[in-house]
């Protein structure tokens, strides 16, 4: 299991593995927003939490089809399926590798991008906290979507269509935590909800992903 995790991480970090792409995409979205809505800092600081969450979500979405695509093409997914490792474990490791290479860097970069959007001082802690708790759910749900569309040519667009509605609860609670944090309000309730959703998806969704992956490998 550890070996698989290390291998996946190495593959992602390697040149052309798309490690920096998600971050670069996040940066570009953040930079483009003021061009779209105007440079007024009052407005920017008001929408900053939502924009940062949305940017992180889209950056996450962008890298989803890489989770299984390479392994599918070179046949190593079939090898993994016949290995003693249960499929649920494979799927969980894949999601974890995706989070470590995409979600975690996004969490770390988010405060920096918050500066660009003049996020209020009180917001930083809550923003990072909500991202750290919320992005694992994005990776796990995304792995499910990637498993659904793994055999399809041009599955990327379909993947987005399938995954985005599933992101709604996480986005709502995550952005709500960041927004309340930025306003200096108590953000504990949505934070707990967010944690609940993440815990639930991590516990249950790998079974669905594994089931779907087995069907696709049949």
């Amino acid at each position: 299991m550890i070996a698989l995790l290390v291998r996946d991480m190495k593959l992602a970090m390697r040149a052309g593995g798309g490690f920096g792409l998600g971050l670069a995409f996040f940066l570009i979205v953040t930079v483009l927003v003021p061009f779209g809505v105007g440079p007024e800092s009052g407005l920017l600081s008001k929408i900053a939490p939502g924009i940062l969450w949305l940017g992180a979500l889209l950056a996450c979405l962008l890298s989803l089809d890489r989770i299984f695509a390479l392994d599918w093409e070179d046949g190593s997914l079939d090898l993994l399926a016949t290995s003693p490792l249960p499929m649920e474990g494979v799927v969980t490791i894949k999601a974890l590798a995706h989070w470590l290479t995409t979600g975690l860097p996004l969490c770390l970069a988010a405060p920096l991008f918050g500066l660009l959007l003049s996020l209020p001082d009180t917001g930083y802690v809550w923003l990072v906290l909500s991202l750290v708790i919320g992005t694992p759910a994005l990776s796990v749900v995304g792995t499910f979507g990637a498993a659904l569309t793994v055999g399809l040519k041009r599955g990327g667009l379909l993947l987005s269509l399938l995954v985005l509605p599933l992101y709604v609860p996480t986005l709502i609670f995550g952005a709500e935590v960041a927004r309340r944090g930025a306003l200096g309000m108590d953000a504990m309730t949505p934070l707990l909800m967010l944690g609940g959703i993440t815990a639930g998806t991590i516990a249950l969704l790998p079974f669905a992903s594994a089931l779907v992956l087995r069907v696709n490998l049949r």
Binding site: L148, L158, L162, V168
Partner: protein, 243 residues
């Protein structure tokens, strides 16, 4: 009468549908015409909403069916995954387009009604938002069916998507509630509330709900049969090519 699983046999299903479909269609037609004509021509105006109250005869049944169709898809998906009856999977596939049309009707009639009543076509009210999300779920479900060639794989994957989607749809409903308290009125037909719609409005409304229900049943029978025919044609053609 044997067990219900007999209808899982495609031949048996087609034969039954030949008998049942005309009846269900006639009932659907009659109830829909009676309900809508009654609602449109023979109900008084509401003292606050004026004549726009008549939209309720389309809006509420469509919204009800939009949710029930998804629920029916959930049940048939579970039956497919557990008992592997092809008819069940095909029925879920056949129901999805009906569900999406019902969702669209609910959204559009709601928007048209909201324009004079709330002064806006669209508000990010929890119920409206939830229906928009439901629409996206239907869209993804149908797109996944269309995208996969192998029918059994498609049935499996869409069934799992339907189940996972149901859980997330419920989660979204609560999340959306939390996110924004709305201006939508509560359920209009609950038995004990004072804001219940009056009897003059509710009788034709019930008839319309029954009508929409039978229309859905008729369409599912028809469309499932279509899918069975298509599947059989495909199988026969494949056999021809081999032989």
């Amino acid at each position: 009468m044997g067990s219900i699983w007999e209808y899982a046999n495609p031949v048996k299903f087609v034969r039954t549908s030949e008998i049942v479909l005309p009846w269900v269609s006639v009932i659907a037609m009659v109830t829909l015409v009676v309900g809508l004509v009654w609602g449109f021509f023979f109900t008084p105006d509401d003292y606050r909403q004026g004549s726009t109250v008549k939209i309720i005869y389309l809006h509420v049944p469509a919204a009800l069916m939009a949710i029930n169709v998804w629920f029916m898809m959930l049940v048939t998906s579970l039956i497919w995954l557990i008992r592997r009856h092809h008819v069940s999977a095909l029925a879920a596939k056949a129901a999805a387009p009906v569900g999406i049309i019902m969702t669209v009707i609910a959204l559009v009639t709601g928007a048209i009604w909201g324009q004079p009543m709330w002064g806006t076509w669209w508000a990010w009210d929890p119920r409206l938002t939830s229906f928009l999300i439901l629409f996206l779920f239907y869209l993804g479900y149908i797109a996944l069916w269309e995208a996969i060639d192998n029918p059994d794989t498609a049935a499996d994957l869409t069934a799992v998507l339907c189940i996972v989607g149901s859980v997330f749809a419920v989660l979204s409903r609560y999340a959306v509630n939390f996110w924004n308290q709305g201006l939508h009125q509560g359920a209009s037909l609950s038995l004990d509330k004072e804001e219940n719609v009056a009897d003059v409005f509710s009788t034709p409304l019930y008839i319309c709900m029954v009508g929409f229900g039978f229309l859905f049943i008729a369409l599912v029978f028809l469309r499932t049969r279509t899918e069975i025919h298509k599947r059989r044609t495909k199988a026969l053609l494949a056999r021809e090519r081999l032989g």
